[in-house]
């Protein structure tokens, strides 16, 4: 549904095997750096929210201080663990150093894990593949933590004019049309839907309008649109047309100094109802 509230602007950080990366179409991953350094910058930039997604190759959560030898080893955070830590310790550290509402996603495939992630300091969880494979998981999470704490993330790809849902980091074609899955996820108790276009991901040529239109107009819960923002105008265009609850992006916020506030200022100058 269209939003009658102020639209939120939400940066996403992608964590992959110990480092923050940028992604292009879920295929190419370029190193950004230390898992906490950009969080420290975002703290200064007064974000509405932050979504932190673990997209590691490693099935198990992976953090090892050794990998930091190739990158930064201390920026933005006072103590970077010098040992291997598990995902809960990691989220604890992250939330301690994150002064904005934090959503954590990636590898959450049981209520137990979700509970521990939230207990470690995340404000919301973001679920994807497992929710698709076991629909009851959405309902269980919503019952346990409340819908407001559950974001269902959906990645899709164009196939002959249809938007098909892909899971497992874009690797597995489910054959299901996005509309079907979005409406199902809503009925099962999702609080918000994060819709990402694999084709537009990291390309910077703008959002997929058709996908935005579909997902915003056919649901009654907030939709966070994602995938393709390369400049402030892209947010402007999509806002003007569909007025989404939230617009998000990963790469663009890392290109220039003070990017988040500059983009917001630009949008507000054009009288958009942005938070």
């Amino acid at each position: 549904m269209k939003s009658n509230l102020k639209t939120r602007l939400i940066p996403i950080l992608l964590y992959r095997d110990g480092l923050i990366v940028k992604s292009r179409q879920f295929k190419l991953f370029q190193t950004v750096g230390n898992p906490f350094a950009q969080v420290a910058r975002y703290n200064k930039w007064d974000l509405d929210e932050l979504i932190y997604l673990n997209i590691s190759k490693n099935k198990n959560f992976f953090y090892d201080s050794d990998i930091q030898t190739t990158s930064s080893i201390g920026s933005g955070i006072e103590i970077l663990p010098k040992k291997k830590i598990d995902v809960y310790e990691f989220v604890k550290l992250l939330s301690k150093n994150c002064f904005m509402p934090l959503t954590y996603g990636g590898g959450i495939d049981s209520v137990e894990i979700a509970r521990k992630i939230l207990k470690s300091g995340a404000d919301k969880i973001c679920i994807n593949s497992h929710a698709f494979k076991d629909n009851k998981f959405i309902t269980d999470c919503a019952k346990e933590f409340g819908s407001q704490a559950v974001i269902v993330s959906i990645d899709c790809k164009k196939k002959l004019d249809k938007n098909i849902v892909f899971i497992e980091g874009g690797k597995l074609d489910t054959g299901m049309d996005i509309l079907e899955w979005i409406q199902k996820a809503e009925a099962l108790g999702a609080g918000e839907i994060l819709v990402n276009s694999i084709d537009n991901d990291g390309v910077g040529r703008g959002f997929d309008e058709n996908l935005c239109k579909l997902s915003i107009e056919k649901t009654n819960i907030p939709v966070i649109i994602c995938g393709g923002a390369g400049q402030a105008e892209h947010f402007y265009d999509i806002y003007k047309k569909f007025k989404p609850h939230a617009m998000s992006a990963a790469n663009i916020f890392q290109f220039t100094e003070n990017s988040y506030q500059n983009i917001k200022t630009e949008l507000k100058k054009n009288k958009l109802n942005i938070r």
Binding site: T31, A40, Q68, T69, S71, S72, S75, G76, F255, E257
Partner: protein, 376 residues
């Protein structure tokens, strides 16, 4: 160990990623530039700088951070002669200038008729920073990288000159970014990539007894100061085709000179003259840590530019990467350190993914042996 299928970078090279075909992010980023419409980029740049021209000539139009090398000549030439701006040149002098490089710098500001802010920290402090940099970060030139990305921003904030025009976006060498993303200078990139996560306070410690007062030049302006002036650092390399060899030709036309003696660790003669250790012992430390050196950097760039074949590149790596250069002894004398101490500390820096000990000698896999792995 894997190496890029197209250039000669190893998998462990700092900040690189490889795609499924075994091609490094640097080569991918470079091939992405084929789609760039350079005429349009140039027009964008002209429009962009127009906004920053001082309307009443009450201030400089921009800052160019320069070392006086071939790329500095090229930057100044473009900014002054082509964009017709009135720049203030800014240099951090890390006490490592070769005589010829200092002459080049002086000639450059004179031939282009520019004002020049030449900042020199105290010699005692820099000797201490050399020692500490080596011990703490494994890089005696840490202060140099830090100074280069701090002093121009301090000057921008103090003189209230918003636009800083950097040269090459070096981060496309490792493919961290695509040129089309129009990356600009950010504090995070400074802290993480140039300062490698170390901060001023790491250097205020017991052994060298440096204090905050000694390190004023490391004090990055606050976010508020940056915002107030609107400081913004753009990269020329995002707006025009960047080729070090081409820049060298331009620089020569304006009197740029190269040293009579070639470098011991690379075949290129005109790169990194501003710092006596940059192609020497500083770079050797990269080899100690990650198993590759400047010849790998230069050969990879020249392969991407079509100036070398991969086979020729591998020859350069084989010839130069392992060489211990004589400036090591200059440096040891400069900081009063014994050679034994130097090598002992070096061994603590070696990356375990690269080096292993065989019969008490450090060995690693080499690119010229890569065929062995694929052999039946």
């Amino acid at each position: 160990m894997r190496w890029c299928k197209k250039c000669v970078y190893p998998e462990v090279a700092v900040d690189f990623t490889f795609d499924d075909q075994g091609v490094c992010s640097g080569c991918l980023s470079k091939s992405d530039t084929k789609n760039i419409d350079w005429d349009k980029e140039w027009k964008d740049l002209v429009n962009l700088v127009e906004k920053y021209k001082s309307k009443d000539s009450s201030n400089y139009d921009c800052i160019i951070p320069v070392s006086g090398g071939k790329d500095s000549y090229f930057q100044t030439y473009i900014v002054k002669e082509k964009l017709k701006l009135n720049p203030l040149l800014v240099t951090y002098n890390g006490h490592n200038y070769l005589d010829i490089a200092l002459e080049n710098l002086k000639n450059m500001r004179e031939i282009f008729g520019c004002d020049h802010y030449f900042f020199t920290p105290s010699r005692d402090v820099i000797i201490k920073m050399n020692r500490l940099g080596f011990k703490l970060t494994g890089d005696m030139n840490w202060h140099n990288h830090a100074g280069i990305v701090t002093v121009p921003i301090i000057v921008a904030a103090k003189f209230k000159i918003p636009l800083i025009i950097w040269g090459e976006h070096t981060l496309d060498i490792n493919g961290k970014n695509f040129l089309s993303e129009k990356i600009e200078f950010t504090k995070r990139e400074r802290d993480e990539s140039f300062l490698r996560g170390y901060k001023m306070k790491d250097f205020i410690e017991k052994t060298e007894k440096l204090t905050r007062k000694d390190l004023q030049w490391l004090q990055y302006p606050s976010d508020d100061e940056i915002k107030e002036v609107g400081v913004r650092g753009i990269y020329l390399g995002n707006y025009l085709k960047w080729d070090g060899n081409h820049n060298f030709e331009i620089a020569k036309k304006f009197g740029f000179k190269t040293p009579l003696k070639p470098f011991q660790r690379t075949y290129r003669i005109a790169s990194n003259l501003d710092d006596r250790y940059e192609n020497g012992v500083h770079d050797y430390l990269k080899y100690v840590k990650f198993g590759y050196g400047r010849a790998t950097d230069h050969a990879s760039r020249d392969i991407r530019l079509g100036k070398l074949t991969r086979k020729e590149g591998i020859e350069m790596v084989k010839k130069y990467d392992h060489v211990i250069s004589e400036d090591l002894y200059h440096w040891l004398e400069y900081v009063k350190m014994s050679e034994k101490d130097f090598w002992e500390h070096c061994d603590t820096l070696r990356d375990k993914r690269v080096w292993r000990k065989e019969n008490d000698v450090w060995v690693k896999d080499n690119i010229w042996d890569e065929w062995k792995k694929n052999a039946p």
